[in-house]
Amino acid sequence: MPGKRNRARWRPCLILCAGLLALTLFFGWGVLGWPCSPTQPSGASLEAPSAAHWLGTDDLGIDIYAQLSQGFFASMSLGLACGVLTALIGGGLGMLAGYKGGGVQAAVDFAVNVFLAVPQLPVLIVLGAFWGQDRRLVIGLIAAFSWAPVAKQTAAKTRSAAHRTYVRAARSWGAGSWYIFKNHLAADVLPVVLVGALAVVGKAILQESALAYLGLSDPTAKSWGLMINRASRFAGIYFTDYWKWWLAAPVAALMLTILFTRLLARWLEQQLLEGDV
């Protein structure tokens, strides 16, 4: 029964998308409908969760749910921006290298290998320490360290697709590069880029949080990493109950978000790339 099998095939995707949607709605309410400000104190400090403050407040009396909500959109937009940038750089260079071959491919391969060989986090920390106070720079840095694997995979896929017989045949009939890309390569290559970029989304959120935790990100942005940083620096937090809402909430939000995006990326990878010749 093809219908039944199809439904079974799509179920993981539906669950993951529903999860992401639920998170978005939940945090969307926190930004648009929630009366408390994410920057101004709205209660006493370190209040436990209640009807007025769903997730309690932090040491300055700022509502945690409101902070968390803003952090979600900050993290998500950062992750998506990194994903798009990676897709553009990695996908573009990969396709170029795989299609043109020769010198172009050698140059891209070299750059890919350089970026793969450089230890990411230390360099990110150093560079972040130098210029890291700007969000756009953080996005750029993360993207710069994420495009290489995508480019590598894209180039391999493009190369194999471009050597298929039907591409050679089309070229013999006078097909130009754009025609060949659009008609014969895109359907094979773009999923690779998409999967790579989606994987970067989760990774970028995590990396930004790590940078923020280290205090190397934009200190004014309400990022989850920054929240975790501040909570965990609160002296003796584990001897109190405060960690249950102040620390656990951003950690859980981070984990859930990354879990959903990574699983979605994995599912897409299985659907689009595996079972392919």
Binding site: R164, T165, Y166, R168, A169, A170, S172, W173, G174, A175, Y179, N183, H184, A187
Partner: protein, 513 residues
């Protein structure tokens, strides 16, 4: 002893009758006929009647109509013999003649309506030979005869010819020409297409019509599948009569009716292109991979409209040669000419009348995401052949029909990944035909198919080649397939090509291994 061969209704009999001045005035014959320096057309009718049968004679195509129904066969003979022999010797002479052509003496007493077709034919022959003429026109002399009578009649003609009688044999049967005639003249549409010594004509016909005619005889090509010349529009006034069915027409052929021209000792052909033209010629092709020579000196000539099989054991370089000839691989050295010019494959691949390759693995050659229509239309779309989707659809439907697929909307919209092996190969073939190639190179077209699919596809490939009129080079390792569809078989051996007798392909293949 010239013979003349031609298909039906090519005006052979008319010419024969004109030669002996027997055409009705309404036919308004023009031109002149000389016999021994004497212009027959200038003779007064009375003299002509005296000389007919005595100096020159004709044996008509078998028909009771030429005989008087109220006279016996013997009386016919005696009536003619009366012009030369005294009454006393006539009966004896008639009996001798009857014996010569294989008639029983008793048969001479029969009336034409009582006699069989064979007897009538023999009588007509005896009449033609009765007065020992110097020149005899024989119109289909063996048409109504069984094998034994046929041999007898041919023997008579041969004996008379050896004794000095000149024969003009009109026949559509090449085997008669082969057995009787020193020279053969091929007629088409009332015009001489080719004139040549018979053995040379049969071994190496130079006019596309002669070639097609000769290759249509299973007697001459017992192994090969039977394929006639492709049907097409008949002769038209003011142009080459074979034009509509010819596979090598160019713009040159618009110049009018070609004249008979010398192309070698004793050989003449009427063709604007000087006879059968080479579609593709390869000279001294060399190719090596990693220092190991694969092709050392491959030479090949592929004529317009013929099917040539390229055989050889696996891994000998057949596909390499096919790729070079089809323009997908550059040789280390050597030249490829297409239509007489150095091959510019960029252009040949992209324009109608060029060179196309039918790839070995048709699934790999079709984008699995393309629909059948899109796949078949791709070369035409890239060559900008069509200005509207309707034109494209019409042509795709036509191409699919040509390769034996039913062009339902469902099939047109089906992704090529969902085709069966045979269907995929057919779709690939339709695509290769989209640009009407002059040369089609098929690399192991049946490698992926089972026996039945293979048989179907080979027949289809040959039929398609026959109808489209392109030159076809089939690469195969299957000697039987080669024998069935190819006009000629070439063996790739030690980097060279050599012609192989179709009967000996297996042995040659074993030797080559």
């Amino acid at each position: 002893m010239p013979g003349r061969a031609g298909g039906e209704r090519q005006r052979k009999s008319t010419l024969a009758r004109a030669a002996v001045q027997l055409l009705e005035p309404s036919a308004a014959p023009g031109g002149r006929v000389w016999l021994d320096g004497q212009d027959l057309t200038a003779l007064p009718p009375k003299e002509l009647a005296d000389w007919r049968m005595a100096w020159f004679s004709i044996c008509f195509q078998n028909s009771h109509g030429w005989l008087n129904p109220s006279l016996t066969l013997g009386q016919h003979l005696e009536e003619l013999l009366a012009r030369r022999y005294p009454r006393a010797g006539r009966a004896h002479r008639a009996a001798v003649l009857a014996g010569e052509v294989g008639l029983e003496v008793a048969d001479l007493g029969l009336l034409p309506r009582q006699a069989s077709g064979g007897m009538v034919q023999k009588t007509l022959l005896a009449l033609a030979l009765a007065l020992d003429p110097a020149f005899v026109v024989l119109d289909e002399p063996t048409g109504a005869l069984d094998e034994i009578s046929r041999r007898q009649v041919l023997e008579v003609i041969r004996r008379r010819a050896a004794a000095g009688t000149a024969f003009l044999v009109v026949t559509h049967d090449v085997t008669v020409a082969r057995q009787l005639c020193a020279r053969t003249c091929v007629l088409y549409g009332g015009r001489v297409m080719e004139l040549a010594p018979t053995s040379e004509l049969l071994a190496d016909p130079r006019h596309p019509y002669s070639r097609g005619l000769i290759r249509s005889f299973p007697e001459l090509y017992p192994q090969r599948d039977l394929w006639g010349i492709r049907p097409g529009p008949g002769p038209r006034e003011g142009e080459c009569p074979f034009r509509g069915r010819c596979t090598q027409c160019t713009a040159d052929c618009d110049r009018g009716v070609p004249e008979l021209a010398d192309i070698g000792p004793g050989r003449q052909v009427a063709c604007w292109r000087g006879g059968i033209a080479a579609a593709l010629t390869a000279r001294d092709i060399k190719k090596q991979f990693d220092g190991k020579p694969v092709l050392t000196e491959a030479n090949l000539r592929l004529d317009c409209g013929e099917t040539v099989a390229l055989v050889g054991p696996s891994g000998i370089g057949k596909s390499t040669l096919a790729a070079i000839l089809a323009g997908f691989l550059a040789p280390d050295s050597g030249r490829v000419l297409v239509n007489g010019e150095p091959a510019d494959y960029d252009k040949l691949h992209r324009t109608p009348g060029g060179v196309q390759l039918l790839w070995q693995d048709s699934f790999a050659a079709l984008n699995p995401r393309f629909t059948v229509e899109r796949a078949v239309a791709e070369p035409g779309v890239l060559a900008k052949l069509w200005s509207t989707p309707q034109q494209q659809r019409e042509r795709v439907v036509q191409l699919l029909e040509q390769v034996g697929l039913d062009p339902t909307p469902e099939l047109l919209a089906r992704p090529t990944a969902n085709l069966s092996g045979g269907q995929a190969q057919r779709v690939a073939m339709a695509r290769a035909l989209a640009l009407n190639p002059a040369v089609l190179v098929a690399d192991e077209p049946t490698a992926q198919l089972d026996a039945s699919g293979r048989a179907n596809l080979l027949r289809l490939l040959k039929g398609m080649q026959n109808a489209a009129g392109c030159a076809l080079l089939v690469v195969t390792h299957d000697p039987h397939a080669a024998r069935k569809i190819a006009d000629r078989v070439l063996l790739l051996k030690a980097g060279r090509l050599e012609a192989v007798d179709p009967d000996r392909i297996e042995q040659e293949l074993e030797d080559a291994q």
